[in-house]
């Protein structure tokens, strides 16, 4: 009945970003995240935001879907902001009341920190929004392949990931069924204190475990019946080829990264000047 509930954040759309190779997306997301930590000026943040908007636009994602992921860390952002705001005491004092001191430096650091967090989370969520869990798992497997040289069981890890992904909707469905059945027998799962609630979960967890073991057993037979482990040279049907669009995306993100680095280490005056032009006396 809840078959249509999709897990994860994947937002289905037919866009060039969705079609990018998952491995490229994984790497570029990493590059983007590292890039953000080198950003220091407001100019840098604007550049990052522009890149983000460009991706959101080409991925045909509604703004709301990206903001939803930011909402999840709202509390974290607010808390860190408050701590930052009052902890930084150097620079021109703007407000002073009892032990609370707010400095100009503190305000800027706080704003930049908020920007950094929001841009970071939005960027990372773009990966989840435009890539199915299966593609992610396949991409990870492919990227982990070199680890097989140091005896990491990449193939088994990949199989475990793939099966876990496959069974999430099934177990979700199963849990719902068991909860319904026990509620129909008068179980109250959402009242009482924490201990009462944990105790109330037993009639749900026991059948869930029993059925998961049964499923695992049957799945093992089904996999053996289909010659799992027949050979060490297991092949794969899908080969992901790097396309022109993947190269293009890589170029865009890498140039962003380069600009950020250049601005930070070689031409810091560019950022300072542009910031001053925009914000004038506020700085």
């Amino acid at each position: 009945m809840f078959k249509d509930v999709s897990f994860g954040q994947y937002y289905p759309a037919n866009s060039p970003v969705h079609k990018l190779d998952a491995r490229i997306k994984l790497i570029l997301t990493l590059v983007y995240i590292i890039g953000i930590f080198f950003v220091k000026s407001y100019f840098g943040f604007m550049l990052t935001a522009a890149l983000l908007l460009l991706i959101i636009f080409s991925a045909r994602l509604p703004m709301a879907s990206v903001l939803r992921s930011v909402r999840g860390i709202l509390l974290l952002v607010v808390l860190t902001a408050i701590i930052n705001l009052f902890m930084i005491k150097d620079g021109d004092v703007l407000v002073e009341w009892k032990i609370f001191v707010i400095t100009k430096n503190g305000v800027h650091t706080t704003i930049k920190m908020i920007l950094r967090l929001v841009l970071l989370i939005s960027g990372a969520s773009l990966l989840a929004l435009t890539t199915t869990p299966v593609e992610l798992a396949d991409g990870l497997e492919s990227l982990m392949k070199p680890l097989a040289l140091i005896k990491v069981p990449v193939r088994d890890i990949a199989m475990i990931m793939s099966i876990a992904l496959r069974f999430i909707p099934t177990l979700f469905d199963e849990t719902n069924k068991i909860v319904s059945a026990q509620k129909a027998r008068g179980a109250s799962l959402d009242t009482g204190n924490i201990f009462a609630r944990i105790k109330a979960l037993v009639p749900v967890l026991v059948p869930l475990f029993v059925s998961s073991f049964r499923r695992a057993d049957e799945l093992a037979f089904a996999m053996d019946a289909r010659c799992y482990n027949a050979t060490d040279k297991r092949t794969k049907m899908k080969r992901s080829k790097i396309k022109f669009s993947d190269v293009l995306a890589a170029l865009v993100v890498l140039s962003f990264f380069t600009v950020i680095l250049l601005e930070r280490y070689y031409f810091p005056s560019v950022g300072i000047n542009i910031d001053a032009m925009i914000f004038g006396g506020l700085l």
């Binding site: 249509d4 069924k177 026990q182 509620k183 129909a184 109250s188 009639p203 029993v210 059925s211």
Partner: protein, 344 residues
């Protein structure tokens, strides 16, 4: 009195997402106390969503327009919800998958305990429920439900529901996955349950033979709407509709249709094997042997060879099984080339 009164009930899954699906579309349905209603429809027609409204597992989305009244109580009212859960016993598909306790007795007692009944009342109900479903208390009470056979597990699960002594019993595909003997026993049990425990029964089933044999009213759903409502004879008479819903006819009706294609016209409204038998016997000029009414209609129904009316017959079945054990069964072979000596 009406056991169930549903008005203007609609339900949408995953509202506001690309996966939005209308599961119920403006359902009006009243079910009279004491009736045996079969709810039929293809998979995904909304049967499960509908029945889960009866005990508030799913609440009406539009509380102003829709109303679900069960036993005179509103299923939307938080205060009456708990009592409603106990008045509507719900046996889901494969109910043995909800067993959890370490003994049969504890599992069956789960519902009555949630009702906050006194402990002697709880144990009275457990014993009665076990007796009703044909599980010997002395033999089964202390055993782990996980060590039982499939058929026994299912009976434990059903006992766990009827131990709440619900006024309405809802069964979703109760015989799915059982072997022929298990099916026959359970179908007979359902009639017993109606007589002894829950006067109103709602059966969800894909097996039209069972529906024809058991129900006195059939409600058919398609795409969340009620498309037919009447006696089994009335509903199955509309061949085009049954086909359109994507369901089968009862075997007897299918055979009657095959005969009609060969220009052998029988009564149009034959739906049970007993009726088909009577019609064929009269066609061949043989009067049906005189037997006492009720039981015979069940016995001659092909899907239920053993007319297990009451508990005693479960007993007799067990005896029959023992008899077989006593005497050897011989292997009969019809093909010469199978080789080997497979005698028993």
């Amino acid at each position: 009195m009406q056991a169930v009164e549903i008005k203007n009930l609609s339900f949408v899954y995953s509202k506001g997402t690309p996966n939005e699906k209308l599961a119920l579309d403006n359902i009006d349905l009243s079910i009279e106390e004491g009736s045996f209603v079969a709810l039929i429809g293809a998979t995904g027609s909304g049967k499960s969503t509908l029945i889960q409204h009866l005990n508030g597992l799913i609440k009406p989305q539009d509380k102003k327009r829709s109303s679900v009244i069960v036993n005179g109580k509103s299923a939307t009212d938080k205060k009456t919800l708990k009592t409603l859960r106990f008045e509507v016993g719900m046996v889901f598909q494969y109910p043995e998958y909800q067993l959890f306790a370490d003994t049969v007795e504890k599992d069956i007692a789960f519902g009555p305990k949630n009702m906050k009944l006194a402990s002697d009342e709880v144990s009275r109900r457990v014993k009665r429920a076990m007796e009703t479903v044909g599980l010997d208390y002395a033999e089964f009470a202390e055993r782990s439900p996980f060590d039982l056979s499939g058929g026994e597990k299912r009976r434990v699960a059903i006992a766990g529901v009827i131990a709440m002594e619900p006024k309405i019993l809802v069964l979703d595909e109760p015989v799915a996955g059982l072997d022929p003997a298990g099916r026959a026993e359970l179908l007979a049990l359902i009639k017993t349950l109606q007589k002894q425990v829950s006067p109103t029964v709602i059966l969800v089933s894909h097996n039209m033979d069972d529906v024809a044999a058991l129900a006195d009213r059939v409600v058919a759903l398609k795409d969340g709407r009620i498309v037919a409502d009447g006696t089994p004879k009335q509903v199955f008479a509309d061949r085009a509709l049954i086909k359109d819903i994507g369901l089968d006819l009862p075997t007897a009706a299918r055979i009657a249709d095959r005969l009609a294609e060969r220009s052998i016209e029988l009564d149009k409204d034959i739906i049970t094997m007993a009726e088909l038998k009577a019609a064929l016997l009269s066609l061949f000029g043989k009067a049906e042997q005189q037997v006492d009414g009720n039981d015979e209609s069940q016995a001659s129904d092909g899907t239920r060879e053993e007319p297990t009316g009451e508990n005693s017959s479960l007993q007799s079945k067990a005896n029959a099984e023992n008899n077989i054990d006593g005497g050897d069964v011989k292997v009969v072979k019809y093909e010469g080339n199978t080789g080997g000596d497979a005698d028993v």
